[in-house]
Symmetry: C2
């Protein structure tokens, strides 16, 4: 796209000023509609060093109310960022509904820079491109407007600007080693950038090349393209998008009704195994930490199935400095205003740490589906979106363990009744639990579909038969140990 790039004719000064005023006013006026229609707008500024990204960004945001945008400068990943998947720092900064988020440099910079420096090979580069395409498509599918700009100048112009900046004692800090390297290796960079732009030029999230020789003309290009794209996106808030075919290998899983629930373990055997397994997990936890493996354990299951007690038996074996338990309730307003996976990206563990989720992102295809909190298109898409999310975690190096804690309807009734009749347990049982119980059959259909469609080979579901809670706890511990050991052996 860059190699055969041709500038469009620059308007004369008068026309430029006139169009710029029109575009600025239009952008400013759009804020109300963006807020009302709850459109999230992500604007990405990439391009050559010294192409003027920062200064154009400064001009563009002058048209916007500061309460409605956030600028994130992505220079170098922090230590914290580096311990998470490479898209983490971008995902946590996506805009909320009705607001703008501007990224000064994006994932493009990470990927192309590592490649140019020889830190990543072709294979890793391809993997990252695939991740990026999924990420951008998921945002678009979930109603985000993503506008990507690449600020383009030629080698001579860049050299000239870097020289001028260096000579200016107030501006010389702006010239980094990387900018100089880029200028020296301009053709090499051009080739890599060009291919990156080609690879990620998806029609739903296309690239716009900004001819950046002239600052004002560049601002005009950016503002006009923003206005055009926002006005299109505002028409499309109820868009339904294609459901992609699953491309991840799936394990064959039984339906819940086919899972025998008569498994038990004796008290004595339970104590003995618990002890042994917790000891094993405890020492594995050290190894995880040492080898910087992130571990993610996800719990879903029927109310009163025994998730809480099960989690306790896991955490009991872990060093408290190395794990976190995340109880997931309905999303807070600031969470609801973003991609439904956002609150989970925010809760990802650092590498070497364990995160346990008590209820998870699978809410999308269970409660959100059944209660109509999202559209049918939303939850139908979610199986693939979740598989992609977990694939991202897997590729990052995570061990992903998903438990469905299974009991039968009678056992649930018995436990509900017991809770209701036991004063110190009454807090555990609410009207909502009873309402959910009424929808048992509908939930079972949803859970069966979920388990069928999201048991990928890298993150399969494990069903814990929990009519006997002891049996379920021992089984959970064994699986956690086994899965961690499997993954540690691989690397």
């Amino acid at each position: 796209m860059l190699k055969d790039w041709v500038k469009s004719k620059e308007p004369n000064k008068e026309e430029l000023n006139e169009r710029l005023n029109t575009a600025r006013a239009a952008l400013s006026n759009m804020q109300t509609a963006i807020k009302e229609k709850k459109l999230p707008v992500l604007v990405v500024f990439d391009g050559w060093g010294a192409a003027g990204k920062g200064s154009i960004l400064g001009r563009v945001i002058k048209n916007l109310d500061p309460r409605f945008f956030k600028v994130t400068t992505m220079i170098k990943p922090t230590e914290e960022d580096l311990r998470r998947p490479f898209l983490y720092r971008y995902f946590v900064n996506i805009p909320e509904a009705g607001k703008f988020s501007f990224f000064d440099s994006s994932w493009m910079d990470d990927v192309t820079r590592s490649y140019l420096k020889g830190e990543t090979g072709k294979e890793e580069y391809q993997r990252q491109i695939a991740s990026i395409k999924r990420f951008e498509r998921q945002l678009s599918d979930n109603g985000y407007l993503v506008v990507k700009f690449f600020f383009h100048i030629d080698q001579k112009e860049q050299k000239h600007r870097l020289h001028e900046l260096s000579a200016d004692k107030h501006a010389s800090w702006r010239v980094g080693q990387w900018d100089l390297w880029q200028n020296e290796h301009y053709d090499e960079c051009l080739k890599v950038y060009d291919r990156y732009l080609e690879n990620t030029n998806q029609f739903v999230v296309p690239w716009y090349i900004v001819d950046s020789d002239n600052r004002k003309a560049a601002e005009l290009q950016v503002t006009e393209i923003l206005v055009k794209n926002i006005s299109i996106a505002l028409q499309n808030t109820q868009r339904a998008v294609p459901i992609l075919q699953n491309t991840f290998p799936l394990a064959s899983m039984p339906k819940l009704s086919a899972v025998p629930l008569n498994k038990t373990i004796s008290e004595e055997k339970y104590r003995e195994k618990l002890d042994k397994l917790q000891g094993q997990l405890s020492s594995l936890h050290n190894e995880i930490y040492r080898r910087k493996r992130p571990v993610i354990i996800a719990y879903e299951g029927w109310d009163a199935a025994g998730k809480g007690g099960n989690i306790k038996r896991i955490t009991a074996a872990l060093d408290p400095r190395g794990y976190e338990v995340h109880p997931i309730a309905s999303p807070e307003p600031h969470e609801k205003a973003r991609h439904y996976l956002w609150r989970f990206w925010n809760r990802l563990p650092k590498d070497g740490h364990v995160a346990i989720f008590d209820r998870t992102w699978y809410g999308r295809v269970m409660v959100e589906r059944l209660e109509g909190f999202c559209s049918e298109n939303d939850w139908q898409r979610a199986y693939n979106e979740i598989n992609e999310f977990e694939r991202e975690l897997y590729d990052w190096g995570a061990v992903i363990i998903k438990f469905w804690v299974q009991i039968d309807k009678d056992t649930q009734l018995a436990r509900f009744t017991e809770r209701q009749n036991t004063p110190e347990k009454q807090w555990k049982i609410t009207d909502e639990d009873w309402r959910n119980r009424d929808k048992w059959d509908l939930y079972e259909v949803a859970v069966d579909e979920m388990i069928e469609k999201t048991s990928t080979d890298y993150a399969p579901w494990h069903i814990l038969e929990s009519n006997d809670k002891h049996y379920a706890r021992v089984k959970a511990l064994s699986i956690v140990i086994e899965e961690i050991e499997k993954r540690l052996k691989k690397s």
Copy 2:
């Protein structure tokens, strides 16, 4: 996509039958909505020889009313097809609004087969991929639902089927040389198909791989995917899509108001030049024919600007067996029911022939824009769509010459008045001409934008100053000759 392809679990017989009945009924019931919402549905069946494309197609269409679908079997291009751009035979067969079109084998087959046979190199392959991506995106952008299936079987299964078919005297005709070659070179084909699927797996027009081991299960996959995609598309009939940035080199063009119209030619000089130029064009026409160059001449301009007389002076120099003039009026109902470029694809000349269009595809950004016959999103997208269309023609080898026949407003008035006062010319002037004249200023804005955005270096506009019609005719002839000679020299 094929290499790491994993089958999904096949449902048991009972479930299969039940789901198949549900899906068949759903597809059948959707026909009314498809018709009412005027959704055009293009379904593409690609895949391995003997994978059962034909028989599944036969099963699927059983659910549809024969008045609402058309099946096109794309085995080999005919002689006629081969004299046109490679996408021609597909474009002319796209469905009309509210109907289905099924392609048994698509452009995928052309492109991959030529590549496998070594008839096309990497560069040509890349060019074809780019064309295909544009083609599919344009269909989607213009409201078409495009569903692409790839029928997959492994080498062993294919071998087995080919063997069985060959042994059956009633079916042996179905086994072609190509099928056998494919089976012998299965791994090589797999690699090429896999890359093709990756390259063209656009999220708006994704691929669906059909596991074709079992005929009934394959039918189920196809029918369910169709039902799902149609139901999504039915929600999206008013969709606005992103306006892509121009990526074609544009010439710098003047605004109409800056074109001086005082150019004239003496009667004597005119006769002399006309004679000479027509002689030159006449012999060039032979060379075009011999060298199989298609030539496309497009005329746009103000009413009474002198298009008709100008065209006559061109055709006078041409052998009547080698050219066709297409007067373009408002589209017929069957044309209106398709992509707006469809009626022009249908009128493409054979190679070695000349097609002259009296009014053109640029109606989209002039009359359709100004009269509201299409949405703003439609005509804003059209500049790029038209540049892509003309690029396709150029890559095919065509000489593309576009004339804007320019006069001033006073000259138009004089000619209108003369027409009205001359009995034998009265048919040439209508109420509509006067109404259009009232909109002169609005048209001028649209024409300026059109000329600015579609003067690509491979198909630039030429402005014919036609206050003096003789001058315009001589200029047109010179340009036609020059452009043809330029192109002939290149190859």
